[in-house]
Amino acid sequence: MKYRVGEPVMVADRAHHGHHRTPLYIKGKAGRIERVHAAFRNPETRAYGDDGLPEVRLYLVSFARSELWPDAGAGAGYRLYVDVFEHWLEEAK
């Protein structure tokens, strides 16, 4: 696996036409690896009749609310958790 628990990461800020599991509101945002999940078949190819292989590593990534929604007022301290596939992650700058 490429990333370890506790490591800071960035979510790739790229357009992707077609099915993918990375929601817009985390693209280009900084997060932290919280858990290393198993590897799974890639939904981006499996959604088009492919077998989805090779499997891709999935991570649980947390984001500070203030990173996602800087204008949000109360509750800015909590973190939001999203499962993200490895090919959507980049090393933190």
């Binding site: 077609g18 099915h19 929601p23 817009l24 509101y25 959604a47 989805g52």
Partner: protein, 95 residues
């Protein structure tokens, strides 16, 4: 960046969120079972189901209920694969 109609997280809205539960109708239970059966037979997987839902025109997506979206997707994917002929469901429904 372009946002799919299904990609709703974090989108601002002043509309209240409808949290009410409703009893499933028979066709909804059957739709769920059918998608499960198709997956088991290897005819359609959950990623294809999602991709089919995401291909709905935005206004149709907004109007459709949860399982209506599943039905739309099932017909789209099965037609693509030639399991259903074009217009076959409409013809059968017209009976």
């Amino acid at each position: 960046m372009e946002r799919g109609v299904h990609d709703r997280g974090g989108r601002s809205t002043d509309e209240p969120i409808d949290r009410s539960e409703h009893t499933l109708e028979d066709w909804e239970v059957l739709t769920d079972a059918l998608v499960g059966a198709l997956a088991r037979c290897g005819l359609m997987n959950v990623d294809e189901l999602r991709r089919g839902i995401e291909s709905m025109p935005g206004d149709e997506y907004e109007r459709a209920s949860y399982y209506e979206r599943w039905l739309f997707s099932m017909e789209t994917i099965l037609s693509e694969k030639g399991v259903l002929a074009a217009g076959e469901l409409d013809r059968r429904a017209a009976g």
